[in-house]
């Protein structure tokens, strides 16, 4: 079992390394001189070449990569030229926004998906089943920016019950904090519910077919006990893995939602970096977000393994 943990750990490090290489070299082939970009068009050639050397751009690429990687490990991601601030500080400031809406969205998505997924599996091919499968398909097909705009018109402008933009930190006012993240979180949750519902439904169906379900029925246990204690427990592995992956992806995939609701989160920073071709900021952001995703996925995989003795055995057999 320790072997499996070490193995997963090792492969995560390899993926992180590959990601850093891709991020660095893809963003290095950008057309134009970064020094020129920073100083603007009316800078003198001397000033540009001075900054060029000062930024270390005259060194061979692999040396630039290595020094970038070393700085990254020290959490020094350089200075953003758009904001004129340290990238680490900018990221640290945006984390609360993105994480608040991601966590809240996941809670909503998990709740809805489990509710409908279980009903849909237990009452297979009933109206409730068709209803929740329609939600599942629609949720995956509705663009988040569209549903966001609809929500703004309806809840923000017509009903005037929820703010349509901005973020209130929770230490400032908890009630306003919840109000400010409610709409963005619902929009994010709608996008995630479909995938999760599908997984929950199919693992529930699998679990309902197992012999221990007959056993539970023969013992004459109540329906609630049968479904919650036996069927659901047997069906948790796949959904847990997916929840971890979805949460990880949400933390990086909130660009669109943050744009519509004007939230100052990580996604907003990514968009600014892309729009202004702020390479240093973008490199830092991509590395931070992707590492977060990889670490969360690793953590979820290992905890799922501890929770489910069957995987333990299976993986041991494999090793």
């Amino acid at each position: 079992m320790l072997g499996y943990v070490l193995d997963r750990f090792k492969s995560s490090i390899v993926v992180l390394f590959v990601v850093s290489v891709i991020t660095f070299f893809v963003l290095m082939i950008i057309p134009g001189n970064p020094a020129q970009l920073i100083l603007g068009t009316d800078a003198t050639p001397e000033a540009i070449s001075e900054l060029h050397v000062a930024m270390g751009l005259d060194r061979p690429l692999y040396q630039q990569y290595l020094s970038w990687l070393l700085d990254l490990l020290k959490l020094d991601m350089g200075r953003s030229y758009v904001y004129g601030e340290s990238v680490t500080v900018l990221i640290a400031r945006s984390i609360p926004v993105t994480f608040s809406i991601s966590i809240f969205a996941m809670i909503l998505a998990v709740f809805i998906a489990f509710l409908f997924g279980m009903i849909s599996a237990i009452k297979k091919n009933s109206i409730a089943d068709y209803f929740s499968r329609s939600i599942m398909q629609l949720g995956a097909a509705i663009p988040s920016f569209w549903i966001g705009m609809v929500f703004i018109v309806y809840f923000g402008v017509k009903l005037k019950i929820l703010p349509v933009s901005g973020f209130v930190p929770f230490e400032e006012n908890f009630f306003k904090f919840i109000k400010s993240i409610l709409l963005p979180s619902i929009v994010l949750a709608i996008g995630e519910v479909g995938t999760l519902l599908r997984i929950i439904r199919s693992s529930m169906l699998d679990s309902l077919k197992q012999d221990y379900m007959d056993m539970a029925r023969v013992k004459g246990l109540s329906a609630g006990k049968i479904y919650i204690k036996y069927a659901l427990r047997g069906a948790l592995t796949a959904p847990l893995t997916i929840i971890g992956m979805q949460f990880a992806k949400l933390a990086g995939g909130t660009v669109v939602v943050e744009t519509i609701f004007a939230l100052p989160g990580l996604g907003r920073l990514v968009l600014t970096a892309v729009e202004h071709r702020d390479i240093v900021l973008l490199q830092g952001l991509v590395m931070f977000i992707t590492s977060t995703v990889i670490i969360i996925t690793l953590f979820v995989d290992i905890s799922v393994m501890f929770l489910n003795p069957r995987i333990k055995k299976f993986k041991q057999g494999e090793l």
Binding site: Q137, I142, P143, F145, S202, E275, V293
Partner: protein
């Protein structure tokens, strides 16, 4: 094939979009970029000359939706085709040539690790914004999906008797690949292709919405939504048509993918 609701519904939705797309080459009510300021913000109505109304420049929304379907489908189908071909090639090389295995598949793992549209956004930064840039960015996003699929399918079929037999007859790698692997993989590839188009449409419209995809004055559904953001509080209908167009397209291709999955892969034991 009994009662495959998903497939039938999916085909109907995709047909609607294809008809709109085909019609855009034959007849559009107005030139899609023609501005007519006096006629701006006309409300949609059946009797009007502008059935879906006009936008802030007085451009006919129906014509722009029709013209936009060209760009959306071109980017989606172009990028998925490119990504599929590249993915099949890389996956096959990785599975059939030992030394390439680790390098290619580790790069694919790396590409898969970028969440959501982050990879596409990063690539768009480097590429020129527009149709070409979007196609390349989205196709690279698709490559790891297909290469992993092909890689694992070849590894699964490798040990099957008929492949071993073909090898013992002295068939070349290329023969085995085209005569045996490709037919065996086709059902999964087609299914994946259809679902991938659904997600490509979603990525394209998201990029255009963020201003990183197709550039004005050209029409794209995502761009139309983004342009309507300033005005839609007063004129909500601006956002209705492009939104519905996107939903129909994505839903259609996703449903076809699901339906094919039931027929071609989960034959009989479908859970769906």
């Amino acid at each position: 094939m009994k009662n495959n609701v998903s497939l039938i519904l999916g085909i109907i939705l995709v047909l609607i979009i294809i008809v709109v797309w085909a019609l855009s080459f034959i007849y559009m009510p107005y030139p899609p970029n023609e501005m007519n300021i006096p006629n701006k913000f006309l409300k949609p109505s059946i009797d009007s000359e502008h059935i879906l109304g006009t936008d802030n420049f007085g451009r006919d929304i129906l014509s722009r939706i029709m013209y936009g379907s060209r760009n959306v489908l071109l980017v989606a189908i172009g990028s998925v085709t490119l990504g599929t071909l590249l993915g099949i090639f890389l996956g096959a090389v990785a599975a059939m040539k030992r030394f390439a295995d680790t390098i290619i598949m580790r790069i694919m793992d790396g590409l898969m690790a970028f969440p959501g549209i982050l990879l596409a956004m990063m690539l768009v930064t480097v590429l020129k914004r527009g149709i070409q840039g979007s196609i390349i960015a989205i196709s690279i996003f698709m490559v790891p999906v297909f290469s992993r699929l092909v890689y694992s399918m070849i590894q699964d079929t490798e040990t099957l008797l008929y492949i071993k037999a073909a090898k013992s007859y002295g068939s070349s790698r290329r023969q085995i690949f085209f005569r045996h692997y490709i037919p065996a993989m086709l059902p999964r590839l087609i299914t994946q292709f259809s679902s991938a188009i659904g997600s490509a449409v979603m990525i394209e419209t998201s990029l255009s919405f963020l201003g990183l995809g197709i550039q004005p004055p050209f029409a794209s559904w995502g761009l139309m939504l983004s342009e309507s953001r300033q005005f839609f509080l007063g004129y909500p209908y601006l956002a209705v048509a492009p939104g519905i167009a996107i939903i129909i397209t994505v839903l259609g291709f996703n449903l076809i993918g699901d339906g094919l999955n039931d027929i071609l892969i989960n034959r009989g034991n479908s859970n769906e």
